[in-house]
Amino acid sequence: MNQTFRGLRLEAVACAVPAGRLTLGDYAARFGQDIAARYEKVVGVRQVFRAATGTAAADLARAAAGALLGGDRAGVDALLCVTQTPRLDAPPDSCLLQRELGLGEHVLALDLNQGCAGFMVALQAAAHLLLHPAVRRVLVCGGDVLSDRVDENDHATAFMFSDVGFAALVGRGEGEWAFANGTAGSKAITLPRGGSFKMDGTEVFNFTISKVPEQILSLRTPEVDCLLLHQSNAFILRQIGRLCGFAPEQVPMNIADCGNASSASIPLLLCDLARNRGWRGRRTAILSGYGCGLTWVSARMPLDFDSTQFHLAPYQP
């Protein structure tokens, strides 16, 4: 389904990054130099962020939202929390975060159980909420702590995920956001209750080189100058970029130093581009998130790296 929303603005994006690191050297020590070298060449990860034991995704999300909001809670009428790793089955993290963030009791608080496509799903949901004039701003936040949900003996997934929290504030402005979304009832990626992350690599790969490029191309217009992808795997990102006709420099990556940060992946890329790589001015981007579900959501939207605020905050427990 393709939908276009007018009058939107990405006001701010923030990420909270824990201090813990797992490096390719740690991975090589466990699985051997040959596997590590091959993993780096294909998957492209050299480092992932690890939260300390006991840190929840909502803790990271709260830190990101706190950095983003500062003292300004005005007009936040909805709070969407995206995570696959909530603190409890109930109550929802969004309800707890309403109080922890000092938001008003009128806030519509809603959890979204989504993985790597989660940021884009939440942006699309925020755009829907903002169709109602009573909703002035939507705070989207979330992330995952997956470091304790991977099989440490599985070389394919043990060194993939980063624990990162994100927040983004969506409000009213001049932007036109064109979304395309899809979901396909597949268990190719699963996170069983109390169990470890599992993935059917071939099915996921075939999905990412067929459905995702098709969706991106459905949104591509001449003014699009960059493609900001969920950072899943460097090899896959290069294939999607090629299939969609983008030059490598139009498809920035930070998976080497940041790993796969699940739903925080695209916010982390945005903050990295703004804070560390000198991206300035206006862009017309296609953002694309894809992951468990299988779910894939992309959006064409204007980005203004001058007026949107970007924060990269170290997480302090």
Partner: protein, 72 residues
């Protein structure tokens, strides 16, 4: 793309130390693992516009099997 071109691509994917023939088995010194499979699937998608669903490494025993699936 002719078979020689495809074999050259496969040699890169498989990190082959010597030229490949269709009879070459997918075993050491070739590197045929889950990561090579992804590279092969990407090559088939980009070159032939085909997606090969449900395949795994053990579905292919020789370089000729890879050629046949790409062309089939």
């Amino acid at each position: 793309m002719n078979d020689a071109d495809i074999l050259a691509e496969l040699a890169d994917i498989l990190a082959a130390p010597a030229p490949l023939t269709p009879e070459t088995p997918l075993e050491p010194p070739l590197t045929w693992d889950s990561m090579a499979l992804l590279a092969y699937l990407a090559f088939v998608r980009l070159t032939f516009g085909k997606v090969l669903p449900g395949v795994s490494c053990k579905d292919f025993r020789t370089v000729g099997d890879l050629l046949a699936a790409a062309r089939g």
